[in-house]
Amino acid sequence: MKIPDEVRRDLEIHAPRQRVWAALTEPDQLLRWFPTKRAEIDLRPGGPLFLEWDEAVAEAVVDVVEPPGRFAFRWRPAGLGRPFTTVSITLEELADGASTRLRLVESGFASLPDQIETQSQKGNDEGWAHELQELKEYLEAA
């Protein structure tokens, strides 16, 4: 028995791929749907991504930027010690060109215990309870 590693979502959007890409990656558009009160993104591999709600913040590091088809980031919801899941989004143009298929995969859940262990070996152990509490608050706030 294992913790499943990923959460997957798949949906079809009736808009051209370029339009979907822009809504996904431009901060002023991100603010309109995510929805956060503050969104900053440095759109290059290694660039920071920052989202802020009333009760929580999420910090991420951009991993992949391949316009207009692939965007991925690693994030640490609610200021957890380090990025621990990767969110990867692919956009595929559908035959008519007017629609786009969006695939989202958030992965890395299975290695969560290991990551926290690594962190604790660095003398930075705030423990599972704390990590879970942070995530819980983040989930409930968003």
Partner: protein, 116 residues
Amino acid sequence: MTPDPAGAVFAALADPTRRRVVHELSKDGPLTATELARRIPVSRQAIAKHFDALEEADLATATRVGRETRYELRTRAFAEAEAWMRAIGAMWDQRLASFKEFVESVPSGSTGRRKR
């Protein structure tokens, strides 16, 4: 002790040795104390003690088989982690629904400003 079952589970996992035990059991369990002690650099007695903590949090069970005790994870505890993931999935459903609505509601010509 706490009304939050997920909190109880993760509190029991606050100890690195116990997390190691859980990790080994999730990989290759069930395992005996001897097998666990071979993988984790602590004594069989220490393993048994850590195991008691896991058992109290309802994370694992011990079964006597002949002269050995076999340790095994319980599914319910991991159901907590799965519930966590379901919550994350539900959140993406929400976000993606508003994303779709937003993208489809704005005409393609007005995608907004581009960054320099």
